[in-house]
């Protein structure tokens, strides 16, 4: 079916209706053109211009011009105020080149909170051999390209969470295969405190080796942490800050409200911070 001819036929009927409604004599000859039609042609456009000029002339003479409210016969037409049904729904036809390799994509989230997890490690393996891998972005999304069709073990790991391995996950021959994953916090860390660091600033550098004040390798950065969740009793413990587990010793905030520095961990029985030790 020539879609352009169909459009032409509908528009021709529309012009005829407008002409009849307004008492305009409009000659519409039968179209004999048999080639491809875009739905209009110079003749059709001429008739349209003629109609508009005639309507304008009638308006100048104080006569009403009727053009609104014409109902067309085409099933997909709607009157101006109709809301249902939606008249679209045509399939979209897209051409693309053949892809030989597939892409594994997905989002990694915290199962409890639903929040996306940044910088998770995702690797795909076949027979224990790592075929590819990626890290999740700020939206928790990862992409591993260049995978041939087949079954893979998808291993998702993140600090402080139980590693998840999805066995024999089928990746399609082309396009994207979606593999989303939810991680659960490692329950073995449940008795360890976690702090939420709201803001922090590098307060300064403590040089513990007074004999070599210029040696940067022996300096310990001191981070001042503002946060209601920090220990108020100055106690020590293991905490997770920014996804990294560490041990802090803290002192309570001063009466002025200015928090005191938290220092790096010290090994048992050794008063020297390992980061401050000089090479023997």
């Amino acid at each position: 079916m020539n879609h352009g001819k169909d459009i032409c036929r509908q528009l021709k009927q529309l012009r005829r209706d407008i002409a009849d409604q307004n008492g305009i004599e409009l000659e519409i000859p039968e179209c004999t053109y048999e080639g491809d039609c875009s739905g209009t042609c110079p003749r059709c456009d001429y008739e349209l211009r003629y109609l508009e000029s005639e309507l304008a002339r009638r308006q100048r003479l104080g006569k009403a011009a009727i053009v609104a409210g014409t109902v067309l016969t085409m099933a997909s037409f709607q009157t101006a105020n109709a809301q249902e049904p939606v008249v679209m729904g045509k399939p979209a036809v897209i051409e693309r080149d053949v892809e030989k390799k597939g892409v594994l994509k997905g989002v990694v989230t915290d199962k409890k909170t639903g929040e996306p997890l940044l910088s998770c490690n995702v690797v795909v393996k076949q027979n224990g051999e790592i075929i590819g891998g990626a890290r999740t972005d700020f939206d928790g999304v990862y992409t591993i390209k260049g995978l041939v069709k087949g079954a893979y073990d998808v291993e998702v790991s993140y600090v402080g969470y139980n590693t998840v391995v999805l066995r024999n996950y089928n990746v399609k021959a082309e396009g994207f295969t979606i593999c989303n994953c939810e991680l659960v916090r490692d329950s073995s860390l449940g008795n360890k405190k976690e702090v939420v660091v709201k803001t922090y600033t590098i307060r300064g550098i403590i040089d513990t080796d007074k004999s070599q004040p210029d040696s940067t390798s022996n300096r310990t950065p001191v981070i001042v942490i503002d946060g209601d969740d920090l220990p108020q009793d100055g106690g020590t413990g293991r905490y997770t800050i920014g996804g990294i587990e560490t041990q802090l010793t803290g002192t309570p905030a001063s009466e002025s409200g200015q928090p005191k520095p938290c220092e790096r961990p010290k090994p048992d029985g050794d008063d020297t911070n390992p980061l401050d030790k000089k090479a023997e």
């Binding site: 459009i7 349209l48 399939p91 979209a92 051409e95 693309r96 994509k105 939206d139 396009g175």
Partner: protein
């Protein structure tokens, strides 16, 4: 205003881009990188494209004024992403007045400021939502859909659901009927009433055959 690039202007689109007889004016430029982009020319070089100001586009399309008035049609701005050219839309509306129905086919993946301006200039919106699932959306378009959802929610409130059609495609290799059902459910919860479910048909260039899903 400087002329802006268009990838094409197509007259007499009946029952495709909204109500009545419409002329599609497709802008160049899009924030998304959809895997099966229908109009990849909107992402290519803008060197050899048509360029129109609001005035020159109005002059080009006004020949179909009678058709628009008789059928409740008008101009459908597509692309590409028309809401990237919201100043153009505002000026075009000022030129054509209120008699023509202006429709925008948009992803809504634009700034809220653009949506607010467009809501003034445009009568109806056709929103291509892709899929509500963030992973599917990102996989298919390369972008997050975070502001899409917020913008749609705002638009439904501001314009009213009767002025918004949301297109929900079945995208081969990306989403499933179940995904589409979830998207439709969420849309209904947001108050969207006009939902167009359709599917992409992938035509393989090299093998000269159609693949449908």
């Amino acid at each position: 205003m400087e002329p802006v690039p268009f990838i094409g202007v197509s007259r007499h689109r009946i029952g495709v881009d909204g109500i009545g007889v419409t002329t599609l004016a497709a802008f160049h430029g899009c924030p998304l990188r959809c895997r099966y982009c229908l109009n990849p020319a909107c992402l290519g070089s803008a060197d050899r494209l048509y360029r129109y100001t609001p005035e020159s586009l109005f002059e080009k399309v006004r020949i179909d004024n009678l058709y628009f008035l008789a059928t409740g049609g008008g101009i459908c701005f597509g692309g590409g992403e028309p809401l990237l050219r919201v100043d153009f839309l505002e000026q075009f509306r000022a030129m054509c007045g209120t008699a023509w129905r202006l429709t925008a086919e948009t992803s809504l993946n634009v700034t809220r400021a653009a949506v607010v301006k467009a809501a003034e200039a445009i009568d109806d919106f056709v929103v291509d939502i892709k899929d509500f699932n963030p992973a599917i959306y990102k996989a298919y378009t390369g972008r997050s859909n975070r502001r899409v959802l917020l913008n749609l929610r705002w638009l439904v409130e501001a314009k009213g659901a009767e002025h918004i059609i949301v297109r929900v495609p079945l995208i081969p290799d990306y989403n499933s009927d179940a995904d589409r059902d979830r998207t439709v459910t969420t849309l209904k919860e947001m108050g969207v009433t006009r939902i167009d479910r359709f599917k992409y048909i992938i035509k393989d260039k090299n093998e000269n055959r159609n693949t449908t899903s």
